[in-house]
Symmetry: C2
Subunit: 256 residues, 2 copies
């Protein structure tokens, strides 16, 4: 059975997609067979992996509406150890349909549990809100990675997420744990970073990953070239940090 890890927080633009894609690529490079699933209708994972609409034969929406099986929506990537399930909610109507399809929080968990999944890791990118797809993603996962960009907005969103994780544990999935909190777009010595870290240490200190992902210009640039940072420029500070983060995650998982 694979380890299923959601990447989620109900705050926009904190690096959920960047973390999901670069972690999935990092795991594949370190010889772990990995599946990346994009539950976000905005479909940013596809942009980062250069999957145009015409390359997509089906996706997470097809899976949840039972129009295709998991096998039919798994797309190969340029890496042997990385497969990809894109989002195929392309229009406003699709987004509205999803709000209805996702009324059963156990839907994805049940679908995945009925499939034989030959991966060691499944990484799930979630949208920036709790209802719908994030709720399904968390309910289907073994653990959750919580990216945090330095700001009080992220702190408030984290508290809302922690409350919701407890709700999911109580009602649907009592094995859901916190994989860790990852500081992203981190800039040393700014007041916002110091204030954020102080708050995090107070609320949930033991879950902070040692690796911090620095703010790195090549990450935003890589979105224009259809390559995740690790493949776009391995020498950049962002790419190195994501590779280090992947190794830290693997070490943590070996120990447990």
């Amino acid at each position: 059975m694979p380890k299923i890890i959601a990447v989620a927080i109900p705050k926009g633009g904190v690096g959920k997609t960047t973390t999901s894609v670069n972690l999935a690529v990092g795991l594949a490079i370190l010889e772990k067979k990995t599946l990346l699933i994009d539950l976000d209708p905005s479909g940013s994972c596809s942009v980062n992996l250069n999957f145009d609409k015409n390359k997509i034969t089906g996706g997470s929406m097809s899976l949840l509406s039972f129009t295709k099986s998991l096998g039919q929506i798994i797309h190969k990537t340029e890496l042997d150890n990385l497969d990809f399930v894109p989002s195929n909610a392309f229009t406003f109507d699709d987004e509205e349909k999803l709000t209805k399809i996702t009324s059963n929080p156990l839907l994805l968990r049940n679908i995945l549990s009925q499939q034989t999944i030959n991966y060691e890791y499944v990484i799930i990118d979630c949208p920036p809100y709790l209802h719908g797809m994030t709720n399904l993603g968390l309910t289907a996962s073994d653990s959750v990675i919580i990216p945090v960009k330095s700001s009080n907005f992220s702190i408030k969103a984290l508290q809302k997420l922690l409350d919701h994780i407890n709700l999911i544990r109580k009602n649907y999935n009592n094995t859901l744990t916190i994989e860790g909190i990852l500081l992203t777009m981190y800039e040393v010595r700014t007041n916002a970073s110091l204030l954020t870290e102080t708050q995090l240490l107070k609320i949930i200190g033991k879950y902070l990953f040692n690796t911090k992902i620095p703010k790195s210009a090549s990450i935003a640039e890589s979105t224009f070239y259809g390559k995740p940072a690790i493949l776009y420029n391995i020498y950049s500070s962002g790419a190195k940090a994501y590779l280090q983060f992947t190794k830290e995650l693997l070490i943590r998982n070996k120990i447990c």
Copy 2:
């Protein structure tokens, strides 16, 4: 009748809330009676304006579920010319209820049109997705400000939004116009900025505001002190730019 301006794009973390709050404050400082409405369940406007939950007696969710009138949910701020309707969707259940309440796109437009609104400007902060509250916000507005942070993710989200604006014009609100596109967290001479501007000039050049909001450390810092950038540190580059942006918006609106 006030001018109603939504601030929206289905991409997270690009500065929608920062723009909504600082524009509303800028307008108030320039003697324009302004109402700020937060339609985002994450409630970041309240964090930026130091409105704790215990200060909130009702909000956008009460208005849309007809449990309170507009008059009952308008909160005074420390500025004479600025009033505030916070978000009062605090829990996961509230978020789920909203997905049902917001199935009628004309709901907010109809509610606002039946009220006598003694403001010159109404600014509406929207969440980072098209369905639900953003759909209602756009349908209720005269125009929309589209913040863009330099990245290909924003460009794809912009295209999705432009398609949706056309849909709203055709079916619900044929007066909806584009107020303009605002570059936010802008860093000169990075490749991502150059690539973003090139794309924008191709797709929608004439709508770009002259003012660009620079990346400014004091903006993220201000979220911890319950003050929008303009009030937190008027000498910072971010605050000056938002004040300049407000003036540019007013000049554009005088001419039309």
